[in-house]
Amino acid sequence: MIKETYLKYIFLTLSIIIILIIFFFPFFWIITSSFKSPEEIIATSTTIIPRSFTLEHYEKILFNSDFFTYLINSLIVSFFSMFISIILSVSAAYGLHKLKFYGNKFVEYSLLVTYAFPGVILLIPIYLLFAKIYLLNTYIALIIVNVLFATPFAVWMLKAFFKLIPTEIEEAAYIDGASRIIVIFKIIIPLAAPGIASIAIFCFIISWTEYLFASILISTDSLKTLPVGLSAIVGQYQIDWGFLLSGAVLASLPVILLFLFIGKYFVSGLTEGAVK
């Protein structure tokens, strides 16, 4: 018995260390490197603790590049994608998991199967379709696509939260004469708020990180999103690492800030909503 607890302790410590090195250290190294001098970044003797400190990369990206244009574009696209995704998924999840209509299992699985189509498979036909209806080089094009990618999983995530809301509360409200709309806005949405917060973050992240469609559907420089703007630098033959690293840090900052404030809902929403 004692031997087993001892073994467990060693395993636990070991896996914590491995997780720290693999999943957290890269961030530390990239962030500190973005403050290193250009010479130190490309030096063959790599440093863990920085020897130099400079803000020149950040000055360059903030004041001498299109960073802000890309940032605003990404914010607009991600915000509206998130907003529409929330409305559509809450409505669908309510229908699927609270009303249990005939065929709901079929719809639930069909939604998951939509992941069989996205990505590059839809890219060409969507490009042709959007070209025909004059949607190329618009925010709307990206929003339409992002909602498609975010909602199926968002509906599935909401399932757990909706199941936690006791049916008795709803029934009591109906007996008191409340209409369905009132039940949804006064009972379901407030009680499922952590769940809605989690899908909000999920949808925002999906839109914020989307690269493929943004790179094809938008060709006007002033409408490009951050991932596409950054990738143009990655592809260059002579990479300006300092510039790229500071860009990478700044491009991650908005999602990290968002996560700082409502991230706990996302994590607890994912981990504590009993999926049964």
């Binding site: 409505s91 669908a92 309510y94 299992k105 069989a116 036909p125 049964k276």
Partner: protein, 290 residues
């Protein structure tokens, strides 16, 4: 009950209409294109029937990309299952800093893919990457190695990078399943003398079947569809070793300008994935108990 039926569909329909429009119309367009020989986007082509299908199924490029995609899915499934379970089981224990780790482990998932690419291009760089200098200092390597220089190394590196991005997210979903398991079952099994591994096989896994089903289905489809990480790091090289089907479709359409062929590839691929999904749901879907 009848009223619920109509209202239920009513609540689901806005999303269903949105999704079907954005999937069905494009699939129809691709289907139509696959019978023509359109080359550059915007030009028109000649009707050639099912020639595209015959030509592509036999082409070495398609076979090669299919094999790569197959290895890609398997490699990612193994790596991600391993990492995700390690993370989930670790966070499931109590230790100082557990809350912070649980909240921030997902960092690799919330940042843009391009940032993931930047991080690992520098980490694995052969001239100034920290992984090389660590391996040399530890005596594992004699000289700096190029992690994307040979077909095998590039493929494995990409699988690991992609798993690095997705595992924490999967771990949190597995954790949700773990949390829903009644602790008393573990305590009871301990009394009966079950060890950690027996508990894992006989309690943890069976109780996770709902979660594992969704992860198995969605995870496989999402892995298959990965494009940006591969494209931004290796562009499918060296010597096509990392050209999976999505990359082949992209290349065919946007660098070789064979739109009809690319559309045909899309149709074939969608068909394969649909068959996979249907079989997976038919045979793996957990029976509904409630």
């Amino acid at each position: 009950m009848k009223k619920n039926n109509i209202e239920g569909w009513l609540f689901v329909s806005p999303l269903l209409i949105w999704i079907s429009l954005i999937i069905i119309i494009p699939i129809y367009i691709a289907f139509e294109l696959s019978f023509f020989n359109v080359k550059i986007i915007g030009t028109s082509g000649k009707f050639i029937g099912i020639d595209n299908y015959f030509k592509l199924i036999k082409s070495t490029k398609f076979i090669n990309a299919s094999i790569n995609s197959f290895y890609w899915i398997i490699g990612n499934a193994i790596c991600q299952t391993f990492f995700a379970f390690t993370i989930a089981l670790t966070i499931n224990y109590r230790f100082p800093g557990k809350k912070i780790m649980a909240n921030w482990i997902i960092l690799s998932f919330i940042i843009p893919t391009v940032v993931v690419v930047v991080i690992w291009k520098l980490m694995l760089s052969s001239s100034s990457g920290i992984v090389n200098s660590l391996l040399i200092n530890l005596g594992i390597l004699d000289n700096a190695t190029g992690f994307f220089s040979t077909p095998n190394k590039a493929f494995v590196s990409l699988v690991l990078i992609n798993s690095w991005r997705w595992s924490p997210f999967l771990a949190l979903i597995i954790l949700s399943g773990l949390n829903s398991i009644n602790r008393e079952i573990y305590d009871a099994s301990k009394v009966d003398g079950a060890n950690f591994i027996q508990q894992f096989i006989h309690i943890t896994i069976p109780n996770l079947k709902n979660v594992l089903f969704v992860l198995g289905l969605v995870g496989t489809l999402l892995s298959f569809n990965i494009f940006d990480i591969i494209w931004l790091i290796t562009k499918g090289g060296p010597s096509n070793a990392t050209t999976t089907l999505p990359l082949l479709i992209y290349e065919t359409a946007f660098t070789k300008f064979r739109i009809s062929q690319a559309a045909t590839l899309s149709i074939i691929t969608s068909f394969l994935l649909l068959i996979f999904s249907l079989f997976f749901i038919k045979f793996m879907a957990p029976k509904e108990n409630d």
